[in-house]
Amino acid sequence: MTTESKNLEVKKEELAPAEGTERTRETRVYIPRTDIYETENEVVLTADVPGADEKSIDITLEKDRLTISAYVEPRRPENYSLAYAEYGVGDFQRSFNISKEIDREKIQAVVKDGVLRLTLPKREAAKTQKIAVKPA
């Protein structure tokens, strides 16, 4: 239980491309705000990706690196012109290192109301391998 309140942040943080590289898509990329908490059996990750849905989110796992990419098509309403802007619209991307105790086969992802929720179950304790030491 947390009783402290955390302020709603206004500013979106932009992701800088890796040095010496350029993006292939001509849009901005933002770092999604993310909460991560751990329970007895799993690690739960929630990320704000407004404008993205199940069709526009890619989650990849490469070795220990879990990458979330959410593609958001900037909306340009017809016949309207932008009078003033307080936020930019673009893709979201962020990577995390996953610990060895996560069962990679059972990771689940759900997106609702612009929030992506990843459930990363821990490996069953039974699966912990024990190596017997034999006498020579």
Binding site: L8, T39, A83
Partner: protein, 146 residues
């Protein structure tokens, strides 16, 4: 431009300057710069001759928790974002997403038809369509001849 026969006050010129300023603010396809939002949520405002379109990103907010009201030329958005209550023994590794109540009002560039305002909330995006008040729309005046 009409040529002036008499010296007039600079009132007309001032009005023209102001008009240009307003046109520049509301008619350019690209805003000159992105303004920093003073409070959550950040909003983008689109305009056309027919009305305004206000958008905001409210990920994780429930549709029923959003309250929108229009009084005169002021649009107000109120709401709250709930946080997940962690059970005992659960532990945060990282907590960046804020929660709690929010409330914000913005001044619209023109009066709107309050009873025709529509709002859609989808994928965490709020979009409010505000038709311009009929009485405020620019009108073309036909010149009659006798």
């Amino acid at each position: 431009m009409l040529s002036r026969r008499y010296p007039t006050s600079s009132w007309f010129e001032d009005m023209e300057k102001l008009q240009n300023e307003i046109n520049r603010l509301f008619n350019t396809s690209q805003p000159s710069r992105s303004l920093a939002a003073p409070a959550f949520p950040a909003m983008n405002v689109w305009t056309s001759g027919e009305g305004a379109l206000v958008t905001a990103e409210l990920p994780g907010v429930q549709k029923d928790d959003i309250e929108i009201s229009v009084v005169g030329q002021t649009l107000s958005i109120k709401g709250s974002r709930q946080t997940e209550e962690l059970k005992e023994g659960y532990q945060y590794h990282r907590q960046e997403r804020g929660y709690g109540n929010f409330s914000r009002s913005i001044e619209l560039p023109f009066p709107v038809e309050a009873d025709k305002v529509e709002a859609v909330f989808d994928k965490g995006l709020l979009e409010i369509t505000l038709p311009r008040a009929e009485a405020d729309k620019p009108r073309k005046i036909v010149v009659k001849s006798n």
